[in-house]
Amino acid sequence: MYEAKLNERKSFLDWPLVLALLGLMFFGTAFIYSASFANESARTLSWFKQLYVKQIIWYQIGIGFVVALCFFDYRTLSRWSIIGYWATILFLILVLFIGTGGVSWGARRWINLGFFQFQPSEFAKIAFIFMLANFLSRPVEELRSHKLFFKALGMIALPFILILKEPDLGSALVFFPVGLSMMFVAGVPVKYLAKFFGGVGLVIILIVVDVLFVPVDSRWQIIKLEPYQRHRLMTYFGKDFAAKDATPTERKQAKLLQGARSYNVEQSLISVGSGGLTGKGWRQGTQYSLGFLPRAVAHNDFIFSVIAEEEGFVGSVFVLTLYTVVLFSGIKIASQARDRLGKTLAVGVVALLFSHIFINIGMNIRLMPVTGIPLPLLSYGGSSVLCSLIAIGILQNVHMYRRSY
């Protein structure tokens, strides 16, 4: 009997979604291989230490999680959401004390588990989606109360502030679009959201103005960002690092610094742009193999540049198409969900994936400032792969249990 049930569930797989996922995983493996094999020292590593092999292993583990998730109805799972949420909050606090930074300027984002660099912020996003979905799945009348709205905002704010502390502005900011779209779908009144949205927008504008136009040490600089964050924003907005009254030597130093800070973006733009229509062919890209696109980031945050350089516009559009399939499968699943919980969960996942895709690809072509947001399933990295697959597992779960009432 158990067997029969499993078979029945399998038929509920969303095939376009599965195919798109397989395509993305294939791309991810191929281009991590390409990006890491340009490096001589990487080439001499034994096969089981190769990044692409590790990535495949992470895919397997992630798929294992997806399968495991499918055994439990998402309603059952959401009952555990409070525990999950607070556990990740605990980790987010922990990471501030025992975290390691890797290549990022003094940031503490990872917890070293020996075999695995655990990145709590990634898991916090998943836990947060469950928590908020669970919280919002209550009668619509209740959602109209101010108190509830502020509670929901509090749920966003807590991980946001902790992640901002690491600091990891990009990951922190992702909580807003995810939270807002979930609240919108759940039925929180639009005027609340609009007010909040307006407020957040105003704050962001103020931050940007403050960062760009107020002298660093004046008392009007209310928001103190890390220097590198400030520089990233200035790079994004094309603003000169040097102050107006800078001396020539300061100007020179500022220019050097600006060159260094905008280096990754410049190089990723060159990679993407020089790919042209059809690209240079797999493993023929020169930007990362010659080290212009820094090897430390080519296979994770800037993997899209590698794909775009080697496969050109055609390849980039193909990747974009795969993501579109994933996202719209998610939206379809959300619309077919049997209850508000499922719908909110699915929308949360779609919003999360979309934010990551938009921010990461946008940063590769200078539409967005540089942040450490990975590209779901394509970027190398255990936490990112696991979380992306778990998120998709949630989608699949909502899909599978849509008719079991």
Partner: protein, 633 residues
């Protein structure tokens, strides 16, 4: 609503990608090329220079250098850096190396690695060298993708040691560089000229390179005049470099085209003989000697003393050496044969004679009385022109061989300024001979359309070869024309240019011998009289040029001793001997000029004799060897 937002976002990404990858792709591709390719100019092998018998005058010899390849040393660089960094943290616990400090530690680590290798290799090669830090650092910063030379020009023993000990050692390589050498040292140095380092490309080269490998440019002589042909066409190779500027791969964009080989008309044997003879004229001789084939204008030898060794220039000459070579009064670089402008003195009496004969103011037999000076108050007022020739009766030949000033001033003034100048102009005095572009001076000779400044006193001076200047080469051309009966040739110094590997016969770039510049239309009778007089100058015991006589080879000549005046004081003499031989059927013209000599006959005539003797000897061995070749056939 959500799907609309997602769609809008994807559309933004799509258009962004379209903008970057389709619309602006050229710009980014350009950026990519700029940062990852370096074109390097590779000079071509310089052409050889040989004499008319294919004897080498300038060639390339392989020079063996030891180079280190910086990209291969990277592992060692980073190892050394880690050690240094560890030492730093041990000394200053808690401090981190960063910023400028980091660069410095890195730079020092690289220098230590390179310096260790340099010292290790050079010690083994028994020539311990300390690596110059500034040189290394500059090279590393500017062109790390070009091998860095640590030791140049290994001798044979060192090459063997290197091959035995360092073959296959990562990052160290022995490489061959062509190096210009002039196997005959100072011989023909003025004619050949010298080359110097010059790495910039010619302006018409297609690809602008940012970096140049050592190249050389000819500065004087044929090395300069035929620089383009000798240099060939430089090639371009394109290096793919990584973000640290190390070389990854190289590709030849334009292959080099080796320079053409240049064959000169000179005969190395005669050239050497001329140089030797000239050098023996006196102590610290300053002068020139030219041997020309009177039948076609080929220059067989052209010597200028003192000479220099062109071998010292490619590697660079110190200021002290340079100044010594360019000493104002004893310049080694200065080519006296083509650049030196000197008063011809009595040598010019040959032209005065032609002017007088052609204007029918003088016959060979007419005699005048010479009191030992020229004094004709109705012509020159109270001025007396002293005559070295003793008082007595003079006909043409006696006046010629004793070089009587009285005689030639007397008749020259009768011929008149216009005629005198016209004859000189027919011989193209005051004009370049066209031997090598930019390698000669025209001398100073009046123009027949502007003679206002010429007073009778100056005309009298002109009759005996004062007031004007000529180059020894002009006089050689003139002497040849007298010898061959009136054919003025363009002197030829280049026989042909050969593309390496192509037979001479098929080569279009041959320079025709015997190109006539002017037919002087000399009256054969006048020529005969002058030839006889020149023969007498050498063979008549009374002649001034008897020291040039060669037994079995009849030499005809004319001596000259010009005064170098400063104001009204004689400060120096220019001595000359012009000649041709053999008298019956002239083949060679030999012109010798020596500054500060005692007299043309005393200083220069013996030089000419030695040259003729050498020519005879060379002719004999040649006919002997061609006879053996004939016998063998």
């Amino acid at each position: 609503m959500v799907s609309f937002g997602v769609l809008a976002g994807l559309a933004v990404l799509l258009s962004g990608l379209w903008w970057v990858q389709i619309v602006s792709t050229n710009r980014y591709e350009e950026n990519l090329k700029n940062q990852s390719f370096r074109s390097v100019r590779v000079p071509a092998l310089r052409g050889k220079i040989v004499d008319r018998n294919n004897q080498s005058l300038a060639e390339n010899r392989p020079r063996f250098d030891v180079n280190i390849y910086l990209e291969d040393l990277r592992p060692q660089f980073s190892r050394e850096f880690s050690n240094a960094a560890r030492a730093f943290t041990n000394r200053f616990p808690g401090l981190k190396i960063r910023g400028t400090n980091l660069n410095e530690v890195n730079r020092d680590a690289r220098y230590r690695v390179a310096s260790n290798i340099t010292f290790q290799i050079t010690s083994k090669l028994q020539q311990p060298t300390i690596l110059d830090k500034a040189r290394f650092t500059t090279h590393y910063q500017r062109q790390p993708y070009i091998p860095f030379p640590i030791l140049q020009d290994l001798n044979q023993k060192q090459r063997a040691i290197f091959a035995e000990n360092f073959t296959g050692v990562m990052g160290v390589e022995m490489e061959i560089q062509p190096m210009r050498i002039y196997p005959n040292g100072t011989s023909a140095s003025h004619l050949l000229g010298y080359i110097q380092r010059h790495d910039e490309p010619a302006s018409d080269e297609e690809i602008a390179c940012k970096y140049y490998l050592p190249d050389f440019i000819g500065r004087t002589g044929v090395e300069a005049s035929f620089d383009n042909a000798l240099r060939g066409n430089a090639g371009v190779k394109s290096l793919l470099v990584n973000n640290a500027g190390y070389r990854q791969r190289e590709e030849i964009l334009n292959p080099t085209e080796p320079g053409k080989n240049l064959a000169l008309t000179i005969d190395l044997g005669i050239q050497r003989a001329a140089e030797k003879a000239l050098a023996g004229a006196m102590v610290k001789v300053r002068g020139a000697a030219i041997v020309m084939d009177v039948r076609n204008g080929d220059i067989l030898a052209m010597a200028s003393a003192p000479s220099f060794d062109p071998n010292v220039f490619p590697t660079g000459v110190s200021t002290v050496e340079w100044e010594k070579l360019n000493d104002e009064n004893y310049s080694h670089i200065f080519n006296r044969a083509t650049y030196g402008e000197y008063a011809p003195g009595s040598v010019l009496k040959i032209l005065t004679a032609i002017a007088c004969f052609e204007n029918n103011v003088m016959t060979a037999s007419e005699t005048i009385n010479n009191p030992g000076y020229f004094y004709e108050p109705d012509v020159l007022g109270e001025r007396k022109i002293l005559d070295r020739a003793p008082p007595g009766e003079y006909n043409f030949q006696r006046a010629f061989i004793k070089s009587s000033n009285t005689y030639f001033v007397h008749f020259g003034l009768k011929a008149g300024l216009r005629k005198l100048v016209e004859v000189g102009e027919r011989f193209h005095l005051g004009e370049s001979t066209g031997i090598l572009p930019g390698e000669e001076r025209p001398g100073d000779y009046p123009h027949s359309d502007n003679l206002r400044a010429w007073t009778t006193g100056r005309v009298a001076n002109l009759c005996i070869g004062q007031e004007i200047t000529v180059t020894p080469l002009q006089i050689a051309v003139m002497t040849s024309a007298i010898a061959n009966g009136g054919k003025l040739f363009w002197p030829r110094i280049v026989k042909n240019l050969q593309t390496p590997g192509v037979e001479i016969e098929t080569e279009k770039n041959s320079f025709q011998p015997g190109i006539l510049r002017a037919d002087l239309h000399l009256n054969p009778k006048h020529v005969g009289i002058i030839h006889q007089a020149m023969l007498a100058d050498v063979e008549n015991p009374e002649g001034s040029g008897t020291a040039a006589a060669v037994s079995g080879f009849r030499v005809a000549g004319k001596t000259g001793t010009a005064q170098v005046m400063k104001g009204r004081v004689v400060i120096d003499h220019i001595t000359w001997f012009v000649s041709f031989a053999p008298f019956e059927k002239p083949r060679y013209a030999v012109v010798v000029m020596v500054q500060s000599g005692t007299s043309g006959g005393g200083t220069c005539a013996p030089v000419a004799r030695k040259i003729y003797e050498a020519i005879l000897k060379i002719e004999k061995t040649k006919s002997a060897s061609s006879a053996t070749v004939a016998n063998r056939d």
